[in-house]
């Protein structure tokens, strides 16, 4: 029964990992940018949340849309300035710039907020509330809510991409930048919108992570970026629902690993990642060739 419990917990964690991963996947899909600062941006979102709550004393759930909005604006600005000028200079420059941002953010957060970890909404009863199935399985309502939120975010993204004008623009620019530009689309603006969406999902992920566990300056790279990447690779590059599948598989693998030996949690997850990388490099839901 504790195995079933581990698998259920891992499955729910997978929702959080999908939230980590979908922004990374989106930015690569649209502007071919592998954003090495992706995880640290989630941490930044978490710390913005900590700051907003400390100043305004608003409930943690209300702070989420504020943080998402702020991060989306930051995403648009960052894309239109630094990341766009890096893109025009080539992929090496893009990697250096995002890696530089990652190191700056991580060390900057450590300077300003120390290396201590903080929680979001500590003491709020809705985060700790749970229900039981039988005697062995206890599910936290909030973890379930995050999983549902992840599905809702992915559904929303899919609808946005296929129905709205901006969604079609993003897909057009991702498919053929020159042709889209000839048809009158300003690809820089479209990139900015895509970055704003990606940063918005990152903000949700960072806030949820801060509520489920804690945030500290180093989790951006140690866990979020690498877990997001592992989820993307397992699920399939460029596939939106692949990130959910990848996240769930990673989460379940980690939970099973932890069940066998508590210190095997991360190793078990990465073992599955390496297995997929070797046996099926295009990911489980394949959309085209591996990058």
């Amino acid at each position: 029964m504790q195995w079933v419990n581990a698998i259920i917990q891992g499955l729910l964690t997978g929702g959080l990992y999908a939230l980590f991963a979908c922004g990374l996947s989106l930015m690569f899909g649209v502007m071919k940018v592998v954003n090495l600062a992706h995880g640290d941006l989630a941490t930044v979102a978490g710390y913005i949340g900590v700051g907003i709550i400390a100043i305004t004393h608003m409930p943690v759930l209300w702070s989420i849309p504020v943080v998402v909005l702020l991060m989306a604006v930051l995403g648009y600005i960052l894309q239109r300035s630094v990341i766009q000028s890096a893109i025009t200079r080539g992929e090496l420059t893009t990697l250096i710039v995002t890696f530089g941002l990652s190191i700056i953010i991580e060390n900057g957060l450590q300077q300003f907020f120390t290396a201590n970890s903080r929680g979001l909404g500590v003491g709020d009863s809705f985060i700790t509330a749970s229900f039981s199935i039988g005697s062995q399985i206890t599910i936290a309502w909030f973890n379930l809510a995050v999983f549902v939120l992840a599905v809702v975010v992915l559904l929303g993204l899919q609808q946005f991409m296929s129905v709205t004008r901006y969604g079609r623009l993003i897909r057009a620019v991702a498919d053929d930048r020159e042709a889209a530009q000839l048809s009158g689309a300003d690809y820089r603006h479209v990139f900015g919108i895509a970055a704003a969406i990606a940063f918005g999902t990152v903000a949700i992920a960072g806030m949820c992570d801060g509520m489920i566990t804690t945030i500290s300056p180093t989790i951006g790279t140690d866990t979020i970026l690498l877990f997001a990447f592992a989820s993307v690779v397992i699920g399939g590059l460029g596939s939106l629902w692949g990130t959910l599948l990848g996240g769930v598989i990673l989460g379940v693998a980690q939970a099973i690993g932890a069940q066998i030996n508590p210190s095997w949690e991360q190793l078990a997850g990465y073992a599955v990642f390496l297995l997929v990388l070797v046996l099926r490099p295009q990911g489980l839901i394949s959309q085209g060739a591996p990058a």
């Binding site: 690569f28 071919k32 090496l92 190191i103 180093t218 990447f229 490099p281 591996p290 990058a291």
Partner: protein, 357 residues
């Protein structure tokens, strides 16, 4: 293409192809003098300065390796801390069995190179961004595996045995010489590699991978060779690090597997000038100056270094050395060719070997 053809018709037999535009003898003598001065350092400066130099030489070795990877083979690795850490552990493990850490340096270099082969196989198919994060994951996996082994200290690390009997001043001097030899071998190795056929192959791949492939260049093999060579260099540097710190501590913050090592080597290369041998040297000097100037402000040097690297990556892509070279045709380590005719002494025509990456 046409220009070259015209030149050869015009000046006929007088065309000359050389490695350098200046007299190589003088730069050779200069390099020798610098080496002699550097080797004599422990005799005329205090152990404090020598200790700082050791850190600089470790970063110099790492930067040269990262430059070889990213600047010449297009392999932007963010996981070189894996090989640094492995190097440190492969000095520690033999030392625990009575092998002197100085001999352990050789074991560290070879072991890191051997382990790089299966790791390469895992990431060989990935390009650029995905290669970058995948190497990062590999470094994480290497660390997690080593932390499982309790006999080498598990997650907390271990002190390095075998050097406790030495006089601290002598130990510092020996460490310095070891670091210097590793750095000189690393830079010399890169230089010779790039002047050899491998250098030509790498240039061909960089300029046009598809064309190189169709001309029979074994692209995958060349890349793997560079990956393994860089692992050897980083492994040796990690060995020196273990000796310098007299302990090996794993962990991602502050330990041998910290990504900050890769940040330091990458930023030093970008600042100094990627795709030149001189760049990492200049970049390491900038790094050391920043680090010493800001050492009382914790990690601020890394933040400033990151900002400088971003600015240079965006506005001076060839880095400090590249900018100098553009103006003065400087080249301490000539790995390309100059094509010139004596009648056109101011000709700036170069082979693609010198093109910016």
């Amino acid at each position: 293409m046409t220009e070259v053809a015209q030149t050869s018709i015009r000046s006929g037999e007088n065309l000359k192809v050389t490695r350098s535009r200046r007299n190589v003898l003088w730069s050779g003598i200069g390099a020798l003098v610098v080496l002699v001065v550097l080797f004599g350092f422990p005799y005329y400066v205090g152990p404090g300065t020598t200790g700082i130099m050791v850190q600089g030489l470790i970063v110099l070795t790492l930067a040269s390796m990262w430059n070889l990877l990213a600047g010449y083979a297009g392999l932007v690795s963010v996981g070189q801390q894996a090989f640094l850490g492995l190097g440190a552990y492969f000095v520690l493990i033999p030392a625990m069995h009575g092998v002197t850490p100085w001999a352990g340096l050789f074991i560290a270099a070879i072991a890191a190179g051997v382990i790089a082969i299966p790791l390469w196989w895992l990431v060989a198919r990935l390009r650029l961004g995905y290669f970058a994060i995948a190497t990062w994951v590999l470094a994480e996996v290497v660390m997690l595996v080593i932390e499982q082994i309790s006999s080498v200290g598990g997650g907390t690390g271990m002190p390095l045995p075998g050097l406790s009997g030495m006089d601290p001043a002598v130990l510092t001097a020996y460490t310095y010489w070891a670091a210097l030899i590793v750095a000189v071998l690393a830079i010399g190795g890169v230089y010779l590699l790039l002047r050899s056929k491998v250098g030509l192959v790498l240039t061909a791949i960089r300029d046009d991978e598809r064309a190189a492939r169709s001309s029979g260049v074994r692209v995958g093999l060349a890349r793997m060779g560079v990956f393994v060579a860089a692992a050897v260099g980083c492994g040796a540097a990690g060995g020196v690090l273990a000796i310098e710190q007299l302990q090996v501590v794993p962990g991602t913050s502050g330990g041998v597997f910290s990504v900050q090592w890769t940040a330091e080597m990458a930023f030093a290369v970008i600042i100094g000038g990627i795709g030149t041998i001189e760049g990492p040297i200049l970049g390491t000097i900038v790094y050391m100056v920043l680090q010493q100037a800001l050492q009382s402000y914790n990690a601020w040097y890394l933040i400033v270094l990151g900002i400088v690297a971003i600015v240079i990556a965006l506005f001076a892509r060839r880095g400090l050395w590249g900018t100098l070279d553009e103006r003065f045709n400087l080249r301490l380590f000539p790995v390309g060719y100059y094509l010139w005719s004596p009648t056109e002494r101011r000709s700036r025509r170069r082979t693609p070997t010198h093109a910016a990456p």
